[in-house]
């Protein structure tokens, strides 16, 4: 593990990037030095917040600039979810996945569902299974174009034959 750039003794846990007058500087700090220099983890106060207040599960993860994104299905913004502790609809879980995830991990640990499955999922999977053939031909065509572009004609010929074969078998 990389050592702290300041004290050189402890393992670095914090990576700091600064841009001053357009000049990028990067360095690694241990937690003690990071704290001394004021680079505390912006999320560090979340845990204490979480313990009691249901409504503030998401309270501290609010990035100001994207607050106005609204779920196109139910009209909820992330700020509203953060304030109420209530997610608006199934689509919100996809739309705000990045921001909801840290909170979900805090509640349940870093885990994936391993219980009963709704039939909805089985249907989705069955629908996906019917598609792969078309996808493959499309994929191969893309690969072919790339092969031609980098003048790898041997590979291009291979791909061309494969595509012909697949289209013939339709």
């Amino acid at each position: 593990m990389r050592k702290c750039d300041k004290c050189g003794a402890q393992n670095a846990t914090t990576h700091v990037k600064t841009i001053i007058n357009g000049e990028l500087t990067e360095y690694d700090l241990c937690s003690a030095c990071a704290h001394k220099l004021g680079y505390t983890n912006v999320f560090s106060d979340m845990e204490s917040d979480f313990s009691n207040l249901l409504g503030s599960f998401f309270g501290n993860v609010l990035p100001a600039r994207t607050q106005s994104t609204r779920c196109e299905f139910c009209g909820t913004t992330y700020a509203e979810i953060a304030n109420s502790g209530h997610v608006g609809c199934a689509n919100c879980y996809t739309l705000f996945a990045d921001r909801l995830n840290p909170s979900i991990v805090r509640i349940h640990g870093n885990a994936a569902h391993c219980g009963k499955h709704s039939k909805a999922l089985e249907q989705e999977k069955a629908a996906e299974k019917e598609k792969p053939k078309q996808d493959t031909v499309k994929d191969l065509q893309e690969q072919l174009e790339k092969a031609v572009a980098r003048q790898d004609f041997e590979r291009a010929a291979e791909l061309r034959d494969k595509i012909r074969e697949m289209e013939g078998s339709k």
């Binding site: 199934a90 509640i107 349940h108």
Partner: protein
């Protein structure tokens, strides 16, 4: 030993994919959700469906709704706002489906005694039946999608109601509850979130719903319930030999059999003592089942609903004492 566990409950939270969750759902949307679920149930397996009563919450008077809470058939939150909410309730009151509570569907199975597998089995069958006819909001990684992320995954909350008078008297409950949270379980007063335990009734339930299967969560809960039962049993042996405890038990039954006016809190406290006396063998002419029934029957709203009239608090205390004297005579 079996008389330590009063009842078992398994609750599943489900939402329909095509509607916003209840916090974002219009009144028309709520009505549509209610219709869809009701139709799915009634057009589903007739063996189960014929058994359900459909109750619109805004059609109940306040006492009737509070009584449903006292019988643990619905949550206190559910009756706080009756608009756009409905209940599907089986005739024997062992199955209930709250519609548009925190989630579109809150399906609940109640069984007497410790019966986690049996209760889950019934809940699972009912859920499968609804799943065949409705589109549930489900994600491969997050499982069943719920309005509150604390229920993601299985959406299952399983709980057992335990009578723990001896552990309560020896003040070990708070120590136990700290350890339980590490196991993803929680113990609290039987009347749900934020209530003081009454009559030494506690509810032990699972807290974690994501990353653990229904079976594993239930197994976990069963193991801890069994351990609590053993500890309670040992604590009972220790305290019930004391003359002071035996005196308290005897007096409690005496008061219940002779009081003319009795408050809800006092009744629950005394019934809890009597229940302890039954299990230690000190009281032989009353059964635990009788006491359990009385514990619900003496609840304020249930008392009024059963008598078919609304009562002032003082009149209620008189009726309660009458009920107790008659039933325990």
């Amino acid at each position: 030993m079996s008389d330590i566990v009063i009842s078992t409950r398994v609750r599943l939270a489900r939402n329909l994919k095509d509607y916003p969750f209840p916090c974002r759902l219009s009144r028309q949307g709520r009505e549509k959700v209610i219709e869809s679920v009701r139709d799915a149930l009634i057009n589903g397996n007739s063996a189960i469906a014929g058994d359900f009563k459909f109750i619109k919450m805004n059609g109940l008077d306040p006492q009737q709704s509070v009584s449903l809470v006292e019988k643990h058939l619905v949550s206190p939150e559910f009756i706080s706002d009756s608009e756009g909410r409905a209940l599907l309730l089986s005739k024997d009151e062992s199955l209930s489906i709250m519609l548009n509570e925190e989630d579109h569907i809150r399906l609940q199975v109640i069984k007497k005694g410790l019966a986690l597998e049996e209760a889950y089995d019934i809940a699972d069958k009912l859920d499968t039946l609804l799943d065949e006819r409705l589109e549930f909001a489900f994600d491969e990684r997050l499982g069943y999608l719920t309005q509150c992320p604390t229920n993601l995954g299985t959406g299952m909350r399983a709980s057992v109601m335990l009578h723990l008078p001896a552990l309560e008297k020896s003040k070990v409950i708070s120590r136990i509850s700290g350890n339980l949270s590490k196991l993803g379980l929680i113990i609290r007063g039987a009347h749900g979130e934020g209530t003081e335990p009454k009559g030494a009734m506690y509810q032990l339930s699972n807290q974690i719903t994501l990353g653990i299967s229904e079976k594993a969560a239930i197994e976990n809960l069963k193991n801890i319930a069994n351990q609590l039962m053993i500890q309670e049993e040992q604590a009972r042996e220790r305290i019930c030999s004391s003359i002071d405890v035996r005196d308290t038990i005897a007096r409690s039954l005496g008061i219940l059999r002779s009081a003319l006016v009795i408050t809800h809190d006092e009744a629950l406290k005394l019934l809890s003592n009597v229940r302890l006396g039954i299990s230690s063998g000190q009281i032989k002419d009353v059964t635990a089942a009788q006491v359990d029934e009385l514990m619900t029957a003496v609840e304020p709203a249930t008392l009024s609903v059963n008598l078919g009239k609304s009562l002032s608090p003082h009149d209620r205390d008189i009726e309660r004492a009458t009920l107790l004297r008659t039933k325990l005579a």
